[in-house]
């Protein structure tokens, strides 16, 4: 049997503006959990909006150059350092994490096991958002002062 799944791409037409299809969150969805048969209904906020401002931004920045990754969170989530400071992230979760940012050219290796720290020096003042590349809902900020 052959699967012709490598067909030349059809013309890449410009994506027209589509009527927003209201995808309501999980109301009415059924969980068929293999263990728990009971159906669960979740009230999740509507998605498909672009990522909101990270929750980290709302918290006061802590003056430290050390961030711990614990329980799928950057702790503290918001830090404040002086320009020229090297910030160290340490993953203390069993799960692998990473540190990536589009605002500062920063992309860590996979923080896991014995290779669980990452360091980056911030030279320019500003506020930089970053996230975990594997679990992108994990957010943090680095505020760099002159």
């Amino acid at each position: 049997m052959s699967f012709p799944f490598s067909r030349p791409a059809a013309l890449a037409a410009a994506i027209g503006t589509l009527a927003a299809v209201g995808l309501t969150a999980c109301g009415g969805a059924t969980h068929a959990g293999t263990k728990a048969a009971a159906a669960t209904t979740q009230a999740a906020p509507a998605a498909h909006a672009h990522a909101e401002a990270p929750a980290a931004a709302a918290q006061p920045a802590v003056a430290t150059s050390a961030v711990t990754i614990d329980n799928f969170s950057f702790m503290p989530a918001a830090i404040k350092v002086k320009a020229g400071t090297t910030v160290t992230w340490t993953n203390s979760d069993e799960e692998p994490h990473s540190v990536v940012s589009s605002e500062e050219p920063m992309k860590s290796h996979t923080l896991a096991g014995p290779n669980n720290t990452f360091m980056h020096t911030f030279s320019k003042p500003g506020t930089y958002h970053y996230n975990c590349g594997i679990h992108p809902f994990m957010h943090g900020t680095v505020e760099v002062t002159a």
């Binding site: 490598s6 067909r7 994506i15 009415g28 969980h31 263990k35 799928f72 290796h109 809902f137």
Partner: protein
């Protein structure tokens, strides 16, 4: 491939024995079929219609996380092998097997190599693969595509036609900022790909991260899925099969039915259950119940696919 009777795909041995007893008693052949959890039977024999060519099954497996070593599953290779054995023991060989991502836990060459070798032992017509975010932990999918990217486009997306149905495999695990992300290049490709497919054609879509808003706070959604789903609204029947969330869930949105899949590695909590989507440690001896494989049966004229999820054996 020409299965004698694709309906046999869902026959269990018990059903076969009942069928034989029943047939002897009634003097007529009765085929027992389980589709979508509903048992039906029909009389075969002279004048019964031949199985339609479009009636076929395929298998979905997901989230194997080869390389994971946590307490939630001390031996992910063993449970992945168990899933493969389960597929290979099915009464009817599936037309193809699709793995919907998170093949590996750390995206190393060794882990990709191991997964590829294990997948090659599947008794099926073809093995199809798409990446999860764990398959690009320290790059943007380059290593993944060296192993599994042949014949795909962009980040590894592809489409194909099979027995009257159209299949699309999307990649929404690269360059993530909070949720899953398809990106403008893939959306343009998808729009062009679907343009030439008639609305009557059954459409089946694979992705790793859900295309519906299952639990956005944990990243269980795709930020530009609305555009992709918009291209699919005109189709009579759309089924979207994904992985990522390590649990079964079904959701219907108009013409589109979403089914999330069980993993072969370890369970995750229901969305919002606890502080984070951390691997769940279940009591000893119960892990296999949280893991599984999925058979999908395409029946012409039926809305959507008949889905049969099956736990791994103990």
């Amino acid at each position: 491939m020409n299965p004698a009777n694709p309906d046999d795909a869902f026959n269990s041995e018990l059903s076969r024995r009942r069928f034989l007893r029943h047939a002897a008693w009634a003097g007529a052949a009765v085929a027992v079929t389980v589709t979508g959890g509903v048992v039906t039977s029909k009389v075969l024999g002279q004048g019964s219609p031949a199985p339609k060519a479009e009636d076929f099954t395929f298998v979905q497996i997901s989230d194997s996380h080869i390389g994971f070593t946590g307490a939630a599953n001390p031996d992910v290779t063993k449970t992945f092998q168990s899933a493969i054995d389960l597929v290979n023991g099915l009464p009817a060989r599936p037309d193809f097997v699709v793995h919907t991502g998170d093949l590996t836990h750390y995206s190393t060459n060794e882990q990709f190599d191991q997964v590829k070798q294990m997948l090659s032992t599947l008794r099926t017509g073809q093995v199809l693969v798409l990446p999860g975010e764990h398959d690009s932990t320290d790059d943007t999918g380059e290593k993944y595509r060296q192993f599994f990217g042949a014949g795909t486009q962009g980040d590894g997306w592809f489409s194909f036609d099979h027995r009257g149905a159209h299949f699309v495999a999307l990649v929404n695990t690269i360059n993530l900022q909070k949720l899953g992300h398809l990106g403008p290049d893939q959306l343009a490709w998808l729009q062009g790909d679907l343009k030439r497919v008639s609305s009557e054609t059954p459409l089946v879509v694979f992705s790793h991260i859900p295309l519906f808003a299952m639990y956005p706070d944990w990243g269980w959604g795709t930020d530009d899925a609305t555009t992709a789903l918009g291209f699919m609204r005109r189709f009579g029947s759309v089924t979207v099969l994904n992985g990522h969330v390590h649990q079964l869930m079904k959701k219907v949105e108009g013409n589109i039915t979403f089914h999330t899949a069980a993993p072969t590695a370890y369970p995750l909590p229901h969305g919002g259950d606890g502080p984070a989507p951390k691997p769940v440690v279940v009591p000893a001896g119960q892990l296999h119940q949280a893991l599984g494989i999925r058979q999908a049966h395409l029946v012409p004229g039926r809305h959507g696919l008949a889905i049969a999820d099956q736990e791994l054996p103990s």
